[in-house]
Structure formats: C-alpha cells, structure tokens
Symmetry: C2
Subunit: 371 residues, 2 copies
Amino acid sequence: MSETRGLKLLSTLAEDGRLTVELVEDALPAPTGDQVLVRIEAAPINPSDLGLLFGPADVASAEYSPRRIVARMPEPAMRAMAARIGQPLGVGNEASGTVIAAGDGPAAQALIGRRVTMIGGDMYAQYRLIDASGCMALPDDVTAEQGASAFVNPMTALGFVETAKAGGHKAIVHTAAASNLGQMLVRVTQVDGLGLVNIVRSAEQVALLRGIGAEHVVNSSDADFLTRLEDAIAATGATVAFDAIGGGTQVSQILHAMEKVASRGAAYSRYGSSMPKHAYVYGSLDMGPTILTRSFGFTWDVSGWLLPPFLQQAGAQTAERMRQRVRDNLTTLFASHYKARLSLDEALGRDAVLAYNARRTGEKYLILPNG
Amino acid sequence: MSETRGLKLLSTLAEDGRLTVELVEDALPAPTGDQVLVRIEAAPINPSDLGLLFGPADVASAEYSPRRIVARMPEPAMRAMAARIGQPLGVGNEASGTVIAAGDGPAAQALIGRRVTMIGGDMYAQYRLIDASGCMALPDDVTAEQGASAFVNPMTALGFVETAKAGGHKAIVHTAAASNLGQMLVRVTQVDGLGLVNIVRSAEQVALLRGIGAEHVVNSSDADFLTRLEDAIAATGATVAFDAIGGGTQVSQILHAMEKVASRGAAYSRYGSSMPKHAYVYGSLDMGPTILTRSFGFTWDVSGWLLPPFLQQAGAQTAERMRQRVRDNLTTLFASHYKARLSLDEALGRDAVLAYNARRTGEKYLILPNG
C-alpha cells in the first residue's frame, strides 16, 4: 500500500498575532507495526478543542476565504501562547472511524475493517495514522456518530465520580450542568447513588435536566439562587464541586454555600468550619480570572482538573474499568446529542464558526470529514 | 483560694455594625482538676488576632475613650460575621505567664510556680484559667518575652516545612517573607536543607533577610520582579508556596512563574505542564479576593492553610516532635522581635491601634497585661 492523501485541519499562530486556521492536504504513509490507518467518520467539537483551534482569537472580525481563516489573537493572550508560535498544530481530540489498513502487529491486525473510537489529537482530518492502543473497537450496533464522543465526556464524567469517591465526598456540585457532559453525570450519579446539585443558567436548562430525572437543579439566573444553592447543598451533603466556567465568582459562591451549611448551628469561628470543601476547575467557558472571595474559612481547596493526569494518577486498572463501562453503555448512560453536522469545509465557514465557538451549553457540533 | 479578679479585653459586634472593644473586670474561679490559673506576663499581637479584634472595622474614625473603642464595621463585611453578632469575644491566641494556682490533678500540680507558654484564646487579659494541656513549661533561662510567641509563628513555620516535605516539594516560595514568621522560616529551612524563595516588598526587607543569611530574596516592587522570581524558582526548584497576603494576583504570579519554569524546553501543550504546583493561602493581609488568572495549566492547587487543622491531620506524634523542637530552640531559630510593648490600657489608645493594626511586615507588638 502506498501513501494515502486527505485533508487535515491545522491551526498556526504567528509571532505577529495572526492565527491561521486552514485545510491542507496531508500524505500519510502506510501503517507499520502496531499502527492502523483510520478513515475518520465523525469527530465532535468539544470546548477543549476550541481552546486549541481558536482560543481567545477574534473570530467575529476574522478574514474568511475557502479553506482558510485568518484571525487576530489579542495581545494579552500571546504571552501564555508563546510556546505554540510558528507551529502548525492539528486539532480534534477524539473521533470515530473505520480501520482501512494496519501494520503487521497483532493488535493492529485485529482491528482491520472494524469501526473504532479514538483519542489522541489531529482528528479533524480525513485520515489518521494511530497506534492501535489509541483505538477502541466499537460494538457492531454502535454507529460512527454514537461512537464519536466515547472518550472525553464519558471518561470525564466517570473521572468526576471517581475523584469524588476517592475524596470521601457523598455528593457533587456541577456547573454548566446542562451540557452533554452534565447530562451524562446526571445519569451516572443516579446509577451510582451519588448526590448531585446541578447549576444551570436558564429555565429551559432546568426543564431539560428535570426531564432526564435530575433531582436538584438550581438556576443561577434566579433572584434566590444563593438560597436555593445552599438548600440543595444541605439536602445532598455536597462538599466537592466541578466547575466548567473558571472565570468569575461561581466557585466562591459554591464554597461559600458549602461553608454556610457546614457552619449551621456552630459557634462563631473566625477561621470557619473544619469541613473540607474542594472545587475543581476543569474548563474555561469564561476565560477571565477565578475570583476567590475566601469567605469560606481556611479549610478549602481549589484545583485544576484534567483527564489525562487524572487517568495517569488513577492507574491502568481503574482507567480500563472506566473504559469498559463506557463501551458497555455508549447508547444509554453515555449518549451524546448534536446540534448540527459539518463537513471540514463547512467547519471553516463564518456562520458555523460563530455558532460553535459560542460554546452554548448543550449545543455540541459534529464534524464529518468524509462527507 | 477564692476568685481572682483582673482585666480582660472583649470585642463585641452589634447587629447595627458597631464594634466595641473594651476592657472589663473579670472574676475567675479557683482552678479545679487539671486546670491552672496563670498570671499573664506577655502576649503578642499576631495578624490572626487582629482579624478577631478589629477585622476590617474603621479604626481611624472610631471613638476612643478610656478602656473602650467603638468603631464601625463596613456593611459588606457584616455578612461573613453574622455568627459573631452579639457575642463578647475574648482575644489573644497565645501568651506566656506564671502559674499561680493549680487544681488537684497531677498535670496541673506539676506546673505550680512554673513559667509557661500557652495557646487557647482569651490571652489579652491579666489572668487566664486554662487546662494544663494548653500550657508548655518553659526552660528556666527563657524570659516571659522570649516565651510569649512560642506557638503561632514557630509551629506555623514548622508546619510549612512539614507540609512541603509531605507533598514531595524540595523548595518553598514565601510571601511577606520579612515577617517574624518569615525570618524563622529562613532559619529553619537553612537547618533542614530545604530551598526557600523569599518575596518581600522593599529594599529594606531585602537587606534584613540577606542579613540573616537568606539566599533568594526577590522584591515585588522591582520592575524586573517577575523575571527574578522565575529565576529564583528555577534555581531552587520550588513547587509549593505559602502566601500571607491572600488578596490580589501574587498567588497567580507565583504559579505562573512555576509553570514557566516547568515548561522550559517542552513542546507546546494547551493544558500546560504536568508538574504539580501548590499554593497555600494562610493569611489575609489583603482582605480582597484572590485573583487566579489560571495562566498556569491545569495541574495546580490553591488551598487554605491553618495551623489547628494541620496539626490535627499531622497527628499527635508529629505535633509533639514539632513542639519539642520549638522548646529546644526558642531563643535561636524561633526568636521573635518586637517593635514596642503596650499595657492593656495603652493597647486601646488610638495611636497604638493605628500602629499595630497597620500590620506592617516585621513590626510585631507585645501586650504586657500586668505592667
């Protein structure tokens, strides 16, 4: 087999602050050893992909031409991106597709002709050469769309549950909870008997989560949000939070509410309660700073949370148990829903970019690189 | 023995926001069981005492009369203080004094006539009734002044070192590092072979720390502060910080510098390095919010740090080992220096309040309740 040619999306930041996102033709060599060549059928656009694709670049006033976008990166963001300047970067954390060629290795040979789901970057492309260990064969009755989001959201939802259990917490607070990830978390915590307080931003999102059986849903747009949040935390005993937003004061509001619940009926202590309270920031829907008011005593932790280091720390056995659970429940507990489907060309159009880059909770887009 | 009468300082916040700090006469019963009665000789004013004594109340425009101050608490601060409203609170975490009476218990009897150092609150008073377990007998050659600050600062300095070692860190960043606590930390880390980066705010403080042998001292008022901070972190390998300030961006600056050092020479990763970075906030010299820019990847923790829960978690054996080390080195490693000495009456005078409540780094005051 000779080389295979196909389109691939690249994002390149120049030193002068110009960000170029473009489709280029890529030539992939034949797979060797444990490598497989996958024809990509579906790849979701996750918030974590958007950070690499555009980051805080100004997409509204960018120049759009066929297969190419040139946008300006704001000056304050350049410092944090120094390490990527001048490097053409592939984008797309996960995808599903069909193995069309394989190296001689047995792990690769076992996947020939199989539909697989993959993690590993560079997935916004027509073809991907990847080690067999980065692939998971899908059950026969799972479609490419159903298998496209089998890693990031499902493993993150299970990672939250594992983190909460390991920390001795009996209930979780989750923000931006109407997301695909949030819906998975509602279902998983129900099955696992863990409490969950869902924070959303609109009445529609309250209805959506109630519709799938969520018990505690609080709307941060309501005037009595803080009282309701405190009541839900008291009802569930939540002492850990996972926050997708990052910027602003919501992490402080959650820790403050946990502290108020922990201090109920206690004598005044200037140092606050001794109840451990832990908030994990796993996303940056708001890229502004996290504002910690520290109005919650001295017994608190705020941490970054990211799937790969979590999996590394949890160990191979836990990771494999989690993967198995996802594979067995892809069309139920871990089902994803998509707002729209885009070809690679369409994904570089202005209307599409403005829509999916708005990161509206629960509105997930899917790229179909081979039409 | 009948009751003993003496002056005691109380801080009371009324519902209308008026904070009254006053000296009242207190009548203490004779000690029983394991209790001892201590005539207090010296009690330091620590930043942690000022939070309870005045908090953010407006002491500049308060009414001062003999043995009484009435100040106004700003409205935004009242919410966090709801639990103390209407309660007359004693102040003063630690002190030294002489045991003048004891209960029948052997632990109490063993202390009769001894000079002791104590922790337990209510120390801004002429007498204190306390359980023998809250006292530590001082060596004969230690004066009341030398023994007055034997708990809060020394145990905190050792607590930082224990926390850093337990987390696998080989060097510490410390802010407001010219404080009495900071000077102890310089000496302890030298003995223990742990790296230390001292952040101070003036050239005078740089000179002070260099004078006691500190190797890495960076001045946040210098134009090239961030570069120097990064260099000092690179030179020491510091991955943990203890911050006395709380408000503002210094925690972010430290984590950002640690991240830059960890990423040197690495390929670009939008998620940042996998180097654990931990900042502990142990004080609130700036009561404003902690601003986390999150410009330091996803592998980070920011936590509150407080001595009592640390000691509880560390266990009795570690705590006793730390106490023993303090007792053995009170006039060397753990020596404190005082800016001025005040009687209880003087401590309620306007000039004195404005001076000690300014919390100037390294300017510690001592109350001598019995003249």
